[in-house]
Amino acid sequence: MPAWLQTVLTSNVTWAVAALAVAYLLTLGGIPIYTWWERRGAGLIQRRPGPNRRGPYGLIQPIADAVKLAVKEDVVPEGAHGLFHALAPMLVMTVALTTFAVIPWSGNVSLFGKSFRLQVADLNFGLIYILAISSIGVYGVALAGWASNNKYSLLGGLRSAAQMISYEVAMGLAVACMFLVFQTVKLDQMIDAQVGPLWHWGVFKAPLAFLIFVAAAYAETNRVPFDLPEAESEIVAGYHTEYSSLRFGLFYMGEYVHMAITAAVTVIVFFGGWRLPWVTTVGRYGSLLPWFLFLISIVSVIVAWDTMRPARRAVTKGNILFALILAATALVSIGLGLFLLVSHVPPWAVSLSAVVSQLLVFLVKFIVLFWMFIWIRWTMPRMRYDQLMRLGWKVLLPIGLANLALTSVAVLLGWI
């Protein structure tokens, strides 16, 4: 092992950059995939194919959408408050992106006597920080509504403000319950508290808190069934009625980033983060990596095979290229997996494999949780405003309070 590689691997900068790269891939880099995924999912649920023209499976479609958004005219309505009108979409996007700093993507591994973790910023108040920052996001929506000089926008902004305030209470109660269960507010310590068998996961320890948290989180991301701020049947497009071009794009992307952060937090607090049930040691995670690689190669081969037989259309160059990339991925993962399996792996490589496999576990859980957002959006009808308020104040709040009291008793008696 050359010395320079050791220097690179044990430098804090490398790990920070790697954590940033993961955060980037799941936010800005992931947005094209998320939009494509949402539209495909919507299509399949509604018994139609969804975007399937540009590129294999329609994967190039979001790029066309982005180009369309970018070249459209940027309209600022007359009488709008120029500064706040410009500031609002930036605020939404910035707030959504900032929260990603504290997410731990992997556990602690030791490399050459030092301990590392894929996490950009290790704050003392990880989860409270996320709550605090995302509570700022409402200003973006409310200001957008007010600054647009449009009554529908104003209604959307007001709805959003009222909704966020109402559901933040319920969310705070659910999160406080999890603080009691895990006895910590740091995200990495929460994941460490969920080590061991499956029923140590937060969702099994506090199922009621999970339901309250998910309902409140959906309300905070303005997603169906709580998307009243942009209810198109009542108030045109709500707070972003008067936005066009990339300013609208920022709102649109901000929603997906917000969904991503919510999914990531849910994974960490309720589904054990990067932990697999019953798998405890770093070495075990490292030895699991070859099998994950084999799984990846199997999936790639299936997808590549499916790409080469498009229904009712000729195989294009794009399909062939995509299939070739997938085949190469499959080959590389099989080769790497076999190499890791048969060769004698030094401890530093075991640590790195452990990081990769923990990241993969996190990603799988993240994908499932993100899919829940899409799935629920295309299943549920939108709530009426009085139903929304009744659910927030008369159902979630009392249940949350009772749940908090019960959980604290259970924690005191040592049941959880």
Binding site: A132, I136, V138, Y139, L143, A161, I165, E168
Partner: protein, 167 residues
């Protein structure tokens, strides 16, 4: 060194924004200036190692209380012309009286620093959730509960005024 520079930057921002809050004609501008002001106050909290206070400051004041302020301002939605020039002689008098103890505190701090007294040394667990919790639920339990009863009374009073026809 860096903490000192940041302190002066943040403190200057706090003062400028606080002035902006009371000088803007448009109430929404004032409210947003106050939100930004609260952020810089939170930054000052971070500089003195009170991380928990900083986060709670953002979560509660910037994230919840000011949203309600903004909600009400936007709901009433009165422009600077409609607000007009009210005669606020009484309010000014009250403000001056309230300013007096505050000025005393500030003078006291300035005096202390100029004598070379410096700031208090903080214990190692300062600003953690546990330390704050012990203070709130131990030493200051009675004021804490009195404050919550006061808030409850305010809520009930607000409901009673708003729903007067229900009686």
């Amino acid at each position: 060194m860096w903490a000192d520079i940041l302190f002066w930057v943040f403190a200057a921002a706090v003062i400028v924004l606080a002035l902006a809050v009371i000088t803007f004609k448009n109430p929404v501008n004032s409210a947003m200036a106050l939100v930004a002001d609260l952020f810089f106050v939170a930054a000052l909290f971070v500089l003195v190692d009170a991380h928990f206070l900083a986060v709670i400051q953002i979560l509660l004041y910037a994230g919840a209380v000011m949203v309600l302020f903004l909600f009400v301002i936007m709901l009433i939605n009165q422009g600077p012309d409609e607000l007009g020039r009210a005669r606020r002689t009484f309010a000014k008098a009250v403000a001056l009286i309230l300013l007096f103890p505050l000025a005393l505190v500030v003078l006291r701090v300035v005096e202390n620093v100029s004598k070379g007294g410096g700031f208090l040394k903080v214990p190692s667990d300062y600003g953690t959730i546990e330390a704050v919790g012990r203070l709130v639920f131990g030493q200051y339990l009675l004021p804490f509960e009195v404050a919550s009863v006061l808030l409850l009374a305010a809520i009930i009073g607000a409901v009673a005024i708003a729903k007067r026809r229900l009686w």
